[in-house]
Amino acid sequence: MDFMDLFIKKRIRAVQKGDQNAYADLVDLYKDKIYRLCYRMLGNQHEAEDAAQEAFIRAYVHINTYNPDMKFSTWLYRIATNLTIDRLRKRKPDVYLDEEVNGTDGLTMQAQLPSREASPEEAVESLELQETVQRAIERLPEKYRSVIVLKYIEDLSLQEISDILGLPVGTVKTRLHRGREALRKQLGHL
């Protein structure tokens, strides 16, 4: 066990014994990872911050159910992933882009929107690219989205993703393949 693991274990024990301040160290350590996950899952900063905060509060409240055999980060990721999936499901269903808009005689919403498709030159510019990638992630169904985000945004191993989602590694791979294919169709031409 390296120094960091030991530090984390000690902090968790302190929190379990009622030391609230020890929790600040854990939040500091994982805030970027958890916020990033929430942002990529939800696609908006305000909601992402709210969800990340809620994930940390939930973890604190249930700290005594944390099983030390599991990595603390795995447990946190699990809480945050479940939370963001819950939020996605509670959202009002998105207006379908190719639905007809009332009173516009056959004109679809797609046609009314300014083209979202960025040209390759534009997309290479950093913010633009970030946006484009984010929109592509958001178009993924949630079960592919969580696997893609955990793999490529959080850089986790397939085994860790399987632990977080409670799915067999084989299922994680299948979802990853399908998610990558779906993204390729949107991003591959850039």
Partner: protein, 203 residues
């Protein structure tokens, strides 16, 4: 030419890093000869690179402070539960004491019947035990729900539970005299007795 789905599958296994060397060789050979698959593979790798590029993102400022401000105030019960979780042995011990005390306390109300532990050399009249003048009772006397009047001698301790003791001027007790009329005294008495028993059985 429509390439087999197997090639696409191999590409994904390659990206997951679990392609056997001979499979990797087969994929590479295929990509050299098939422009469509080569383009597909290139797009997949680009997609992955874009995703990895999007990974750079940090939490907004003061995130930790905000979380700490939102933390629930520790409820007493929560703290107790946390404490109990952290100290199973002490919890068990406290529970034992609580239950023991509880059982003594409840037995305080029971046993309303009069009883006395000595029957030789004593006279019993209207829930009062009398040690007559000139008599000597050897050993301890415990009177429950009654009183004791000592005119003679008791060679031991006298304990009166739920009652009174009266000492005549000539009366004599060699040991301790104790009156127990309160629940807590009763509990204390029981604990002392139990401990004494335990110590005696140890010896």
């Amino acid at each position: 030419m429509k390439c087999p789905n197997e090639m696409i599958s191999l590409m994904h296994h390659y990206l997951d890093g679990d392609l056997r060397p001979e499979e990797e060789q087969r994929l590479k050979e295929h990509l050299r000869s098939c422009a469509a698959c080569a383009a597909h593979f290139h797009e997949l790798k680009k997609t992955v690179a874009f995703l990895q590029y999007a990974a750079h993102l940090t939490a907004p400022p003061a995130f930790t402070t905000k979380v700490m401000k939102m933390m629930p105030k520790e409820k007493k019960s929560a703290r107790l539960r946390r404490w109990m979780h952290g100290h199973p042995l002490l919890t068990a011990a406290s529970l034992f004491v609580l239950l023991t005390v509880g059982s003594f306390a409840s037995s305080w109300g029971e046993n309303g019947a009069f009883s006395v532990s000595a029957d030789e050399h004593v006279i019993i009249r209207d829930h009062t035990v009398i040690v007559p003048k000139g008599e000597t009772v050897k050993g301890d006397i415990v009177v429950r729900n009654g009183s004791i009047r000592i005119e003679g001698t008791v060679d031991g301790n006298v304990t009166v539970i739920h009652g009174k003791k009266y000492m005549a001027s000539a009366g004599q007790v060699t040991g301790e005299i104790e009156e127990i009329n309160q629940v807590f005294e009763w509990i204390w008495y029981n604990i002392k007795e139990k401990v004494n028993h335990a110590l005696q059985s140890l010896e």
